[in-house]
Amino acid sequence: MLACSASILVIVALLLYELTIRSQLSLRQFGLGFFVGTDWDPVMGKFGALPFIYGTLVSSLLAVILAVPLAVGVAVYVTEMCPRALRGIISFLTELLAAIPSVVYGLWAIFVLAPILREYVEPFLGKAFGWTGLFSGPQYGLGMLAAGVILAIMIVPIISSITREVLVAVPQHQREATLALGATRWEMIRMGVLRNARAGILGSVILGLGRALGETMAVTMIIGNRPEIAKSLFAPGYTMASVIANEFSEATSDLYLSALVEIGLALLIVTLIVNTAARLLVWSITRGTPQRA
């Protein structure tokens, strides 16, 4: 039993060790310049990871911006407002949303979401907000915006289920006290519940962000896969996870492979940090309360 539990620690150590060893070549060759270089030209032996880092950050942030209000809204609805009978159904459906494989999201995104974005959403955004520069250029449907939307759909269940746990952990007398002072239901939720739960909600958001950063298949299928840094969200991009998925098994030189592993290492370290921060926040809130309601 001790050995089994140790295996978890060993696995994480092994992940770090293997990825560090296999990325030695590129670590030595490029140093820190790897992360600020913008050229990705395997044929010429030039490897710079900035376009992928940019794409990962922008698509994930976009996803979080879209997902957080929805996820918190659902969590509030389920814990504070909805009739008991509906509660189970809605949480079951959101759980199902979490169980759909990434590749199925990708399939749906290619054939359903992208055309919708291309025909309806992008022309509208371009007309209304094109002047900002964020929504300009050709409207393919595929691209950074599409990646952000599909990621948002994918991380909503994670954020909402943990937010729900955190909201349930808020003591009942907190709600009663606020109501007794004459608050409306919304004021009770805002002052008595959300304010108490904000650290935990922040934790759930960071956890969702962590998932978005590492999400691979759906994003690879829809982001357009072009290693460029473009201001417009309509433009195709590339993420760290996608470039590994696309190029890893066809990396021809040792340096190429090493560069890809280094991207993986960076991804691993970032997600370890993000997840640790999120877990600490969630733990600080839900500690000592029953696991689920």
């Binding site: 994480v12 659902v74 504070e80 759909i100 890893f248 098994s249 640790t276």
Partner: protein, 284 residues
């Protein structure tokens, strides 16, 4: 009435907030419905006996199926379970039954963090641990990657389920003079059995749809392969390859493959949900 004192503005805000909450619930459920709807509409027509029993045909030839991918997925998932289930449950038992000190807090924390590691990164590790020494892609390396992904989920649910076994039950066992290990095996694990199976099924459903780590471990294969040492097809992998291909026939099959995948997963999740509802662990 008490509410008479509430100003119009506050009341309006209250209604607006309620409306927003309901709207967000609808907006979250909508894509789910859309995804299921499209899967059924686009996939159901292509599922037939040939699809389930044939291997892929070359481009341009109609027909063919995903039988090799379905079997391949089962082989890979079998290997993953052999690795993930014992390690996961063992770690869970340790954390709940032996780990009264700081060490198990670290393990618990690491398990949660490992749960959030991107699957593609685990794929790279499996590649360098298994594929490189073996010199070729294999079902086994894919199983290793997915097995690693199962461990944290199983460990954490096993631990939670064991925590729910009442103390009185254990004390009764000790009262009969049963040693600690025996009380764990015969009493605690037996009582928590359905909950632990739930955790295993959830972990299984989660990795069943994983594609990213299989891209460069199991790699995929257009033909029959039952040898775990060789490149092997997997259902999610096949769906991915077909979806990004330029052929309509393959798109059709991608939808059908995705539908089969989702049916497997939804059935697993629903069975679990039903079992936990009706079972002893209704609180879970």
């Amino acid at each position: 009435m008490a509410t008479a004192h509430i100003s119009m503005f506050r009341r309006a805000k209250n209604h607006a907030a309620s409306f927003a909450a309901v709207a967000s619930a609808v907006l979250v459920i909508a894509p789910l419905m859309a995804i299921f709807g499209y899967l059924v509409i686009k996939g159901i027509g292509s599922i037939n006996l040939a699809f389930l029993t044939n291997t892929p045909r070359p481009v341009g030839e109609a027909g063919g199926g995903m039988a090799n991918a379905i079997i391949g997925s089962l082989i890979i998932l079998g290997i993953a379970s052999i690795i993930g289930v014992p390690l996961g449950t063992g770690a869970g038992v340790y954390m709940s039954e032996y780990g009264k000190h700081r060490y198990s807090t670290y393990v618990r924390f690491t398990a949660d963090v490992l749960n959030g590691v991107p699957s593609i990164v685990i794929g790279i590790a499996a590649y360098s641990l298994v594929v490189l020494p073996q010199q070729h892609f294999s079902a086994f390396s894919g199983g290793v990657a997915l097995g690693i992904m199962m461990i944290p989920t199983i460990a954490r649910t096993t631990e939670e389920m064991l925590h729910m076994v009442p103390h009185a039950v254990r004390e009764a066992a000790y009262g009969l003079g049963i040693p600690h290990w025996r009380s764990i095996v015969s009493i605690a694990l037996r009582t928590a059995r359905s909950g632990i199976i739930t955790g295993v099924m959830l972990a299984f459903a989660r990795v069943a749809g994983e594609t990213a780590p299989l891209l460069f471990t199991a790699f995929g294969n257009q033909f029959w392969n039952l040898n775990p040492g060789q490149p092997t097809a997997a259902l999610p992998l096949q769906v991915y390859v077909y979806a990004i291909s330029p052929f309509d026939e393959w798109h059709r099959q991608a939808w059908a493959g995705a539908l089969i995948l989702i049916i497997l997963i939804v059935v697993a999740v629903s069975v679990v949900r039903f079992a936990t509802r009706k079972g002893r662990f209704s609180g879970a």
